[in-house]
C-alpha cells in the first residue's frame, strides 16, 4: 500500500522559500496569489499487513518525518 505524508511549516514559522515563490507567481501574472507555503511530500510504500500501522506511522511522522516545533504533518492512505 502507498501512504502519502505531507509536511508543512507551521504558520508562525518564517517560510522565505514560500515567500520567494509567491513573489515570482505574482510577477508572472498572478497578482491574486496571496501566500505560498512550501513543505515536503513523501510517498511511502508499506506492507498492507503491517500491525498497528496507523499508530506506528504517526509516531514516526512525529519523531522523524516532521519536527513538531516547526512543522505539521498529514497522513493520507490510498
Amino acid at each position: 500500500m502507498k501512504v502519502k505524508v505531507v509536511v508543512t511549516p507551521k504558520a508562525a514559522v518564517l517560510d522565505p522559500q514560500g515567500a520567494a515563490v509567491r513573489d515570482a507567481m505574482q510577477h508572472l501574472g498572478m497578482p491574486e496569489v496571496h501566500s505560498v507555503r512550501i513543505g515536503k511530500y513523501l510517498e511511502i510504500e508499506v506492507d498492507d499487513k503491517t500491525p498497528n500501522l496507523d499508530s506506528r506511522l504517526n509516531d514516526l511522522c512525529r519523531d522523524l518525518l516532521s519536527n513538531p516545533v516547526i512543522e505539521d504533518y498529514e497522513v493520507v492512505k490510498s
Binding site: 518564517l14 522565505p16 522559500q17 518525518l65 519536527n67 516545533v69 516547526i70
Partner: protein, 236 residues
C-alpha cells in the same frame, strides 16, 4: 581532561574541533564514532559542525537517532558539559536537549562570514571567561541557522537567562542589521535550563588562532575547561 568529539557520517568540523581542543593546555580530545554507545570517561562532549547524514529530511533529523545519541542524552542529564556547534546545535534541538529549531536562513543563501556576537550571560559554564556584553568575533557557515522558538519558549529562555549569545553590530548593538540569518531576537546560541548543554550556530572551533581571523573561540573552550576543573575541585 578528556573531550569527546562525535563523528557522524557527514561531519566536517570534527577535525577543527579536535585541533582547537588539542591545542589547549591539559586537554586531550578524541573522536568518537556515532555508532559507539558509551561516553564513559569523557569530561565533555562536542557535537561538531557539518552535514550529518547529508542534512537529509532536516538538519540533524537522522543524526539524532544515531546510537551514540542515547549516551549523549544520558551524560547531558547527568550534568556533563555538552556543546554543539552549527550542525551540532541543530542535532541538539532535534533531539530535544535544547528548545526550538533551526530553519532556513531568511535570505535563503548559505552564509559564510565572520560575525560579531555579544555575550549575554557572563556566568554560564561556557562563557564565564567573558564579561557580560563582551563581543566575540566568530565565523558562521550555514544555510539553516535561523533560530526559531514559539513565544512561550522565548519568554522562558529570556527569563531563565538561557540566551548566551546574540548577533550584534561591531559596536555591540543588537539590531536587525546585525542579524545574518533571521534568527528570532538575534539569537546565536542558547543553553538548556540546567546550563550544561550549549548550542550555537557560530564556530568557536574555527576561531582559535589569530591567523584564522579570530581567536575569540578560545574563550568558550577555556570557560568549559575551567568549569570542569571547578566541578572536580568541588567534588574532591
Amino acid at each position: 581532561m578528556k573531550f569527546a568529539v562525535i563523528q557522524f557520517p557527514g561531519s566536517n568540523c570534527d577535525q577543527d574541533c579536535l585541533a582547537a581542543l588539542s591545542g589547549m593546555a591539559g586537554v586531550k580530545a578524541e573522536y568518537v564514532w556515532h555508532k559507539k554507545t558509551s561516553l564513559t570517561g569523557y569530561d565533555a562532549i562536542v557535537l561538531p559542525g557539518g552535514f550529518a547524514f547529508g542534512d537529509y529530511l532536516r538538519c540533524g533529523a537522522i543524526a539524532r537517532f544515531s546510537p551514540i545519541m542515547a549516551s549523549v542524552v544520558e551524560e547531558a542529564r547527568s550534568g556533563k558539559l555538552v556543546i554543539g556547534t552549527c550542525n551540532g546545535f541543530q542535532v541538539l534541538c532535534e533531539i530535544g536537549l535544547l528548545p526550538g529549531a533551526l530553519v532556513r536562513n531568511r535570505a535563503l543563501h548559505f552564509i559564510c562570514e565572520l560575525v560579531t556576537t555579544r555575550v549575554e550571560v557572563a556566568d554560564s559554564a561556557f562563557t564565564h571567561g567573558c564579561p557580560q556584553g563582551s563581543l566575540l568575533r566568530l565565523p558562521i557557515a550555514h544555510g539553516e541557522g535561523c533560530y526559531f522558538a514559539d513565544e512561550a519558549t522565548l519568554r522562558e529562555l529570556n527569563e531563565r537567562r538561557q540566551i548566551i549569545l546574540r548577533y550584534a553590530t561591531a559596536d555591540g548593538r543588537i539590531d536587525a542589521s546585525a542579524n545574518p540569518n533571521g534568527s528570532v531576537e538575534n539569537i546565536a546560541g542558547i543553553c538548556n535550563r540546567e546550563g550544561n548543554v550549549f548550542g550555537l550556530m557560530p564556530h568557536p572551533d574555527r576561531a582559535c588562532e589569530e591567523r584564522l581571523g579570530s581567536a575569540d573561540g578560545l574563550n568558550i573552550f577555556q570557560s568549559m575547561i575551567e568549569t570542569i576543573e571547578a566541578t572536580r575541585s568541588r567534588a574532591a
